[in-house]
C-alpha cells in the first residue's frame, strides 16, 4: 500500500527535512505517524500524495512509484487516496452535502451515483442531520466529520490524515480518531499524523515515530517519547 525506502528530501532552501526514511504500510493496516514539530511528518504526507517529489529514495503508493509518475496520471492516483487536514478545507459557500458531492462530481461521477453515495457516507460519519448546513454553522468536530466524509466518498484504498485533530478539543479528537478506526475496520488503510500522546495512548495500534527526518521507532503500542530521550 505504502512503501518508503531510504527517502531523502531537501527543500529548495536547503532544509534537509528527511534523511533516509524507510517504512511500509500494508493494505488494511492502521498506523499513527508521530514526531515533534519540524521532524518531517508533513513532508512524508506531501510525498505520499505527490505534492512534492523525493530528492532521493523510493516512494510507492498504491503500487505507483511516485517519482516516475506522469503528471497526467497523478489525478487518477489521487482518487485512490483520501486526504484529511487539520484545517478541514471545506468550501464555505457550499452546504455539507454539496461539499461531499463536489468531490464525486469533479472526478466525473454520475448524478445517480452521487445521490446514492453521499447520504451513505454522511450517515457513516454521523453528520447526515446537518446535510443542508454551511460549514460556518458547524462545530470544528462536525466540520472535520464532513472532511472525513469527503475523503471517503470516492471509496479510496488509503486514507491519509495530517493532524486531523489539531484544531479540536480532546473529546472531539477522540471521536474523530474512533471514526477513522471504524473506517479502517471497514477495510480502508489509514495513516494518521499526530503529536498528541494522550490520544495515541488510547489505541492499541502501530506507532511510527520520526525525529530529525529519521524513523526512530516503529512498534505496536509504543509512543516514542522523544522529549525524555
Amino acid at each position: 500500500m505504502i512503501r518508503m525506502t531510504d527517502v531523502f528530501k531537501e527543500y529548495a532552501n536547503g532544509t534537509k527535512a528527511l534523511k533516509g526514511v524507510t517504512f511500509e504500510l500494508n493494505a488494511g493496516e492502521f498506523a499513527f505517524l508521530v514526531g515533534p514539530s519540524g521532524s518531517g511528518k508533513s513532508t512524508v504526507i506531501k510525498l505520499l500524495i505527490g505534492e512534492i517529489a523525493p530528492s532521493d529514495g523510493e516512494v510507492i503508493v498504491n503500487g505507483q512509484d511516485m517519482d516516475n509518475i506522469r503528471m497526467r496520471k497523478m489525478p487518477y492516483l489521487r482518487r485512490t487516496i483520501g486526504c484529511i487536514f487539520q484545517d478541514f478545507r471545506l468550501i464555505e459557500y457550499k452546504s455539507v452535502y454539496e461539499n461531499v458531492a463536489f468531490a464525486m462530481r469533479v472526478i466525473g461521477a454520475s448524478s445517480g451515483d452521487i445521490r446514492q453515495r453521499v447520504p451513505y457516507v454522511l450517515e457513516l460519519v454521523g453528520i447526515e442531520h446537518k446535510a443542508k448546513s454551511k460549514p460556518a454553522e458547524l462545530s470544528g468536530g462536525e466540520q472535520q466529520r464532513v472532511a472525513v466524509a469527503r475523503a471517503l466518498v470516492n471509496n479510496p484504498k488509503l486514507i491519509i490524515a495530517d493532524e486531523p485533530t489539531g484544531n479540536l478539543d480532546p473529546a472531539r479528537s477522540l471521536e474523530i480518531l474512533l471514526l477513522l478506526k471504524k473506517i479502517n475496520e471497514l477495510g480502508t488503510t489509514v495513516l494518521v499524523v499526530t503529536h498528541e500522546k494522550p490520544l495515541v495512548d488510547q489505541f492499541s495500534q502501530r506507532v511510527i515515530a520520526i525525529d530529525g527526518g529519521r524513523v526512530v521507532s516503529d512498534a505496536m503500542d509504543r509512543y516514542y517519547d522523544y522529549e525524555s530521550e
Binding site: Y93, V106, R150, N154
Partner: protein, 304 residues
Amino acid sequence: MLWIGITIMKVNRNRTFYYLKEGFSSIFAHSLMSFASVCIIAAFLIITGLFIMIAVNINATIGDLEAENVILAYVHDNQSENDARNLEPNILAVPNVSHVVFISREEAMESFIGRYGDTDRYRDLDPSTFRHRFAVYVYDVGYIVETQNALRYVQGIAAVNANPAIAGGLRTLRNIVSWISIVVIAVLLAISLFVMQNTIKLATFERREEIAIMKMVGATNAFIRWPFIVEGFILGLLGSLTAYIVTWSLYDVAARGVAEFAGFIRLVPISSNITVQVILLFVAVGFSVGVGGSGIALNRYLKV
C-alpha cells in the same frame, strides 16, 4: 467554438452540463468580480471601437480628397475630337489608371467660364484656345508621379498636369493616421489584456482553495479548467456585446450630430462592412481576453 462544443459532447453529455452549469453559476457566485470583468472588457472595447471609427473616418475623408486629386492629360492641338476620344484605351492601358473622363474643348471652356463667372468677358473666347483633355483617375496616388510620366509617353498626349505635392501630403497624412491607430489599438489591447488577466487572477485567487480541493480529490486539469473557460468565454462575450451596442449607439448619436451641425463632413455609414469587421474584432478580443486571461491566471494553481 463549434469544435470545442463537439469535443465536449463526444466526451460526456453529463460533464458538458457540469461545465456549463459550473461556469454559469460561478459567474453569479462571484457576481461583483464578473461584473467588473465585463465592464473592463466593455470599456476597453468601447474606447478601441470609437478610436477605430475615428481612424476609419479620417481615412475615408483622406480617401475622398485623394479621389478628387485627378491628373489632367492634354491632347495635342492637331488631333480632332474623334481622334482625341480614341486615345482613351491607350490611357486606360497605363498602369495605375482606374478610369478616365474625356473633356472636350467646349466642355473645358464652359467649365472654365462657369468657374470664373462673368460670361460677357469671355463671350468672344474661341474654344480652340482650349485643348481636349482627359481627367485621369488613379488607383494609388502613391504612384502619381510614375503615372504622370507614363502618360507623357502616350502618343497624342501633349502635356500632363498632376499635383504630386498634394498627393504626397495626403499619403503622408494617411500613413500617420494608420500608424497612430495601430499604436493606440495595440496599447489599448495590451492594457485590457493586462487588466483582464489580473481581474481573473483575483477571481481564481478567491477560488484557490476550491481548486486545491479539486486537485486533492483527483480532478484532472482539464476538468478544473473547463468551467473557468466557459466563464471567461461568457464574460468576454457579454463584454464585447455591451461594447458593440454602446459603440454603435454613440456613433449613431455622433453621426446625427455631425449631419445636423456640420453637414459637409461625411461620416462612414454604420451599415458598411466595417460593422462586421468590428463585431468580429470585438468577439475575438472578448473571447481571447476572457478565455486567455482565465487560462493564464489558472496555470499557477494547477502546477501541484
